[in-house]
């Protein structure tokens, strides 16, 4: 992984930027909660507090007198309140599964899953940063805005794979009511995934789960007497007729996807499966739409 990572470090950013350039800036729709609302850079373009005129509305009961716009009210008999548009930068925290299972590839000509995960993560980061959002990596980098953050993210992502066989989502550093992106193969213990997702949901984080799988994991093109081992060698399974297992494996995989989709739905997240055999744009588009929609 070391060699792959260092080479990745160099071109990952350029590849990610190239991918990001093909999309319009992504503006994360703000969820209105005062505690997390922070002024975005859009507001700073104007003098003053950075608020923008939105509309006048008739003052109602409960509006303090301070809020009444007297200049407008003087032109008529009623009282009006001047409402301003709040603009907010969203905090997006991305978690890329660093476990060993992500370093799998079913074909020498195909990059491992971790490569694709990192590419997607950084491409999203590029888009989001360009839109003025704050992007961070769960457990690695706090969400910040600006181009400089992109460099930081890239260097953090190039870190080595962890010793664990399968990863569980990391929620450290996630901003409450922010957005979360989990990139993993989600083949590990379902309990860990569930817990991670629950922690994120507890903090009011919404987001997307992107399951990245190698085509070999979807097709199971094996035959004959085989000993299957996990990437670290911790798990093993021996079979005489690997071909016989195919249908049952595929059933289990489908079940796993169903579970993940169900979990995501329960906490208001979105779930998709992306294959390293397919182009990354599809996944990026989907993630862009899912983050924008937020529903």
């Amino acid at each position: 992984m070391t060699v792959a990572a260092s080479s990745l470090n160099g071109d990952l950013r350029s590849r990610a930027e190239a991918l990001g350039q093909t999309l319009p800036p992504l503006l994360a729709e703000a969820e209105m909660l005062a505690s997390t609302v922070m002024l975005g850079e859009h507001g700073r373009r104007r003098a003053g507090l950075g608020d923008e005129f939105w509309q006048y509305r008739a003052a109602g009961a409960g509006d303090s007198a301070r809020m009444i716009d007297w200049r407008r009210s003087a032109r008529s008999d009623a009282h009006f309140v001047r409402e301003r548009e709040w603009q907010a930068a969203q905090s997006v925290t991305i978690w890329v599964d660093p476990a060993k299972s992500m370093s799998f590839t079913g074909d020498k000509g195909r990059a491992p899953k971790s490569d694709r995960a990192k590419l997607l993560a950084l491409a999203l980061a590029v888009l989001l940063l360009r839109g003025g959002e704050r992007v961070g990596l769960a457990g690695l980098a706090h969400p910040r805005a600006g181009r400089a953050q992109l460099l930081r993210l890239a260097s953090r992502l190039a870190g080595e794979a962890e010793a664990e066989e399968y990863g569980a989502p990391e929620t450290e550093g996630m901003v409450s009511h922010g957005r979360g992106v989990f990139l993993s193969d989600f083949l590990g213990d379902l309990a860990g995934i569930e817990a991670g997702l629950a922690r994120a949901a507890d903090r009011g984080v919404k987001g997307v789960l992107i399951q990245i799988l190698d085509p070999a994991e979807e097709e199971f093109p094996f035959d004959g007497r085989t000993i299957f081992e996990s990437m670290g060698g911790g798990l093993r399974h021996e079979t005489q007729q690997a071909g016989e297992l195919r249908s049952r494996y595929l059933t289990r995989l489908a079940e796993r996807k169903d579970r993940l989709a169900g979990l995501a739905r329960a906490v208001g997240w979105h779930f998709t499966t992306h294959h390293t055999g397919h182009p990354a744009q599809a996944a990026l588009l989907w993630a862009y739409a899912a983050l924008e929609g937020g529903r």
């Binding site: 093109p221 081992e229 798990l235 399974h237 071909g243």
Partner: protein, 923 residues
């Protein structure tokens, strides 16, 4: 040796290992194929899944079988299996190897030599002395020697073209006991039984015979206008047909297949016949018939004069008188010749156009000058002019004072009459023919008398020229050689007016002896007797003809005996020339029968083939290896690892396939690509001679010239191309360089046609005999002769040595000499027209501005001087030092001039008009 069927084993105890095979079965069965280890993150989903079928952990039965076969093949292979092992008990005492060595052995001679070598080697291994006897040799004392002494000699042994003569061999056999191996040709030769008995008296006899069919061709005979070819075969079997090929020179003198006929042996019959109907011109050219299937002397039948029907022109003086048929001077000649020759009649100049073999002038006295000249020319080329006397000749003054060129002797005026009413004496009879006369051996009947004749003047040569005389010594037939032909005068008339000679059988015989008529049948013993026959061409045992060289002549009686009894060492089969005819002696006479040798029960007879010991170790081990390879693939397949190999296999297969395709393309590609190569730019071409050294040099030479042209002129030639004049299109090349090698073959008629077309349409050929160092042009060098042979069929205009004002001297460079590697050979070009002989006043050149010479002929070896290697460095040294380099430079300049001449024609010649043109333009 341990034997199973026809297979023996060198190390039979190894076979016991086969018992272990069933044990191996159980062992192999218990061990499942090794698993593959795969890293796979999805294993988390697999945990807990059970295999449905537990059986597969045992090796499949067919894989087991494959492995067992591999092991079994290896065991058997190492046990040293031998097919048809040589299990004969080793003999003792001396070994005599007898080989017939006849023409019938030639059909599988290499196999016989191998067998002989094997026998000698075997005897050598056993320490037995050996003797080798070829029965076709003249019997000689047989000596036993060590096998080493014989080892080299067997390889050089050749069969002979005749049958063995066995009668005297029994005496030549050594004393004492010895074993005999007789390699028989399968034919029964006289004396074989006696020799076998003599051999059996000395010890055991083993006979080795080939099973192959012996084919022989009888001499072809001429029957009812057709050639009948008969053939004989030795083991009589089912119906089979063989091809008979008639060969002979074509009009250009090149030996070719002239005709071909299929000859069928009916089932169960030893003799087959075929008929061939050919036009006389073709038939007369046939020199030999041969069976296509067999290459032995027996399968070749040479033809002699007996197949040729000669063309005879009969000419009488003046119109025949009506109603006097029996008095016609030509009547008896016509009767004698009609069955055996083709008769042409007409005037002398007309018939000479038909190129007859013989012209008969019956009582024709005076010929015009044109007729005399034509007749003389025809005589020089080998014609036979037969003249008969008569009243007109006697009355004329032809050959009276001076000898007429068309008469053998001078004649006295008037002739003489004997035994008539007004004369004394009896009619004269013929004297016996003298030795040396072509009629020697013929018996003159006593009732042949001569009543009148013309008389020869007594000249010094008269005795030599007389070949038949009357009993009083006066010449009756005289003869004179003219060039290759001859003139014969019979001093009596061709009808019965002056003598009774035309009425007798002697007349026909004399005509035959003069080769006027053809013998319809083969020569009889009487025809041959008394003459000496010199072999011209002889056949070897394989049917190949070779020049007889200095072989001594043989007596006619001997030859006659050989014609029926077959050839012998003194009389090899071939063509024998007598005084004026040739006789073919063939291996098979017209009645010869091929009889199979019949060996008694006491003799063991083996075939030549089938008994060779053949070690099978290699085959078995190869099979074992193949099984193991198959096992590797099968094991991979069972273990599910073949998927990764698939792509590799495809690569290997793809790698193998293009070879076949590429080869197919190579053969398919030629014409278009060649045409493109030759026409995209100017290309110099050379004629491929078949001698690789000469061809390479031509290529290098034209490459050097092309380089120089590119550097110095606006002609930018591509790489030179070698041209095969027999097959390649010539029209693409403006220039052909043709190095003539000694012994170069004449091109075929089609090639000549294309070469002539090439020359007529503006191509140029530079003939280079490359021999100017040793010969002047046209001298007797082998190259010069080859050039003459090649050029004989080309449409080449009259030539002259290159004049000093030839346009070639100034097309680009001003040159006075044209050296190649040899400095000063003569160069010949097309002769200038006579009308333009004189140069105009004050002009340096003659006004010759028409045409490009189609050929330039010389011997200066230009290609050698031009030749450069791939990097442009001269290949061969020219001359010596700086002078040599200067000569090379001049050689290049000649090449440049030549190509300029080819491409620009006489443009430089036309420049003589430049002053006139300038004047007209008012400059």
């Amino acid at each position: 040796m341990f034997m199973i069927g026809p297979i023996g084993f060198a190390v039979p105890w190894l076979l016991t290992a086969l018992i272990a095979l069933p044990v191996l079965w159980f062992l192999l069965r218990a061990v499942p194929p090794a698993p593959i280890r795969r890293r796979f993150p999805g294993v988390a989903l697999l945990l807990g899944l059970k295999d449905e079928d537990a059986e597969t952990d045992k090796t499949p039965w067919w894989l087991l079988l494959l492995r067992m076969l591999a092991v079994a093949a290896a065991i058997i292979g190492f046990a040293g299996p031998i097919l048809n092992p040589d299990v004969r008990v080793a003999g003792t005492g001396p070994l005599l190897v007898v080989v017939d060595g006849s023409w019938a052995d030639a059909r599988d001679w290499p196999r016989r030599v191998e067998k002989i070598e094997a026998l000698i080697e075997e005897a050598g291994a056993e320490g037995r002395p050996v003797a080798l006897v070829r029965l076709t040799d003249v019997p000689d004392a047989v000596e036993f020697q060590t096998a080493e002494a014989w080892a080299g000699r067997a390889a050089g042994l050749q069969p002979q073209a005749w049958a063995p003569v066995l009668d005297d061999w029994a005496e030549a056999l050594p004393e004492g006991q010895f074993e005999t191996v007789w390699l028989s040709d399968g034919l029964d030769h006289p004396g074989r039984a006696a020799l076998l008995e003599a051999l059996q008296a000395r010890g055991g006899v083993r006979v080795i015979e080939s099973q192959r069919v012996v084919l022989g061709l009888h001499p072809a005979v001429f029957e009812d206008g057709r050639i009948v070819i008969a053939a004989q075969r030795m083991p009589v079997a089912d119906a089979v047909s063989v091809e008979v090929i008639a060969r002979g020179p074509d009009p250009a003198g090149i030996e070719r297949e002239l005709a071909r006929v299929s000859l069928t042996f009916p089932s169960g019959v030893a003799r087959g016949e075929a008929e061939l109907d050919l036009p006389p011109e073709l038939r007369n050219r046939i020199t030999r018939f041969e069976l296509e299937a067999a290459r032995t002397a027996g399968a070749v039948s040479l033809t002699d004069d007996s197949l040729k029907r000669r063309k005879v022109a009969l000419i009488a003086a003046g119109p025949d008188q009506e109603g006097l048929q029996l008095l016609s001077p030509l009547h008896y000649l016509r009767q004698a010749l009609e069955p055996v020759a083709e008769i042409v009649e007409g005037s002398l100049t007309e018939v000479l156009l038909a190129n007859p073999d013989v012209v008969v002038l019956a009582d024709v006295a005076r010929l015009t000058q044109a007729e005399t000249d034509a007749a003389l020319e025809w005589l020089e080329k080998g014609g036979l002019l037969l003249r008969f006397a008569g009243p007109r000749l006697a009355g004329s003054d032809v050959s009276r004072i001076e000898e007429d060129p068309l008469m053998p002797v001078r004649l006295r005026e008037g002739g003489r009459t004997v035994g008539g009413a007004m004369s004394w004496g009896e009619p004269k009879a013929l004297a016996p023919f003298a030795e040396g006369s072509p009629f020697f051996g013929l018996v003159a009947p006593s009732d042949v008398v001569v009543r009148a004749q013309v008389l020869a003047q007594p000249d010094p040569e008269l005795t030599d020229r007389t070949i038949a005389a009357l009993d009083d010594g006066t010449p009756l037939v005289t003869r004179k050689a003219v060039g290759e032909g001859q003139v014969v005068l019979v001093h009596v008339t061709a009808n019965a007016e002056w003598s009774s000679l035309p009425l007798s059988g002697l007349f026909v015989q004399m005509l035959e002896r003069l080769a006027v008529s053809t013998r319809a049948a083969r020569p009889e013993a009487g025809d041959l007797a008394g003459l000496t026959w010199v072999p011209e061409m002889v056949l070897d045992a394989f049917g190949q003809a070779s020049d007889a060289g200095e072989l001594a002549g043989v007596a006619g009686e001997e030859l006659a005996k050989a014609m029926t009894g077959g050839p012998s060492p003194a009389l090899p089969p071939g063509l024998y020339a007598g005084a004026d005819r040739r006789v073919a002696l063939n291996v098979l006479g017209p009645e010869t029968e091929l009889l199979a040798a019949d060996w008694p029960q006491s003799v063991s007879v083996e075939g030549l083939e089938g008994r060779e010991a053949q070690a099978l170790k290699g085959q078995f081990l190869t099979a074992a290896l193949a099984f193991l390879l198959a096992d590797v693939l099968a094991a991979l397949w069972v273990a599910g690892r073949l998927t990764g190999l698939r792509r590799g296999m495809v690569v290997v297969l793809l790698g193998l396939m293009p070879m076949g395709e590429a080869r197919a393309q190579e053969t398919a590609l030629p014409d278009d690509v060649r045409a493109l190569e030759a026409t995209t730019a100017v290309v110099l071409a050379y004629v491929l001679t078949g001698d690789p050294r000469v061809d390479e040099l031509s290529h290098a030479g034209l490459l050097g010239l092309s380089d120089k042209l590119w550097q110095r002129t606006s002609i930018e030639p591509m790489m030179p191309i070698g041209v095969d004049i027999e097959t390649d299109e010539l029209a693409f090349f403006p220039f052909l360089y043709w190095p003539v090698t000694a012994g170069a073959e004449q091109p075929s008629p089609e090639a000549y046609a294309r070469l002539n077309q090439y020359l007529r349409t503006g191509g140029m050929i530079l003939f280079d005999t490359r021999d100017a160092d040793v010969a002047g042009f046209g001298g007797g060098t082998p190259e010069g002769q080859a050039l003459q042979l090649i050029a004989s069929g080309l449409d080449i205009p009259p030539l002259e040595p290159m004049p000093s004002d030839h346009v070639l001297t100034r097309t680009f460079y001003l040159l006075q000499e044209f050296p190649g590697r040899h400095p000063r050979g003569a160069i010949w070009v097309e002769a200038a027209p006579l009308a333009e002989e004189e140069a105009a006043e004050g002009m340096p050149f003659r006004n010759l501005n028409d045409g490009v010479t189609p050929v330039v002929i010389g011997g200066n070896d230009w290609a050698a001087a031009w030749a450069v290697d791939g990097s442009g460095v001269p290949l061969l040294p020219v001359g010596r030092g700086f002078a040599g380099e200067q000569q090379r430079e001049i050689a290049y300049r000649f090449g440049v001039n030549l190509i300029m001449h080819v491409l620009t024609g006489n443009y430089k010649s036309d420049q003589v008009h430049v002053p006139a043109l300038l004047e007209r333009l008012g400059q």
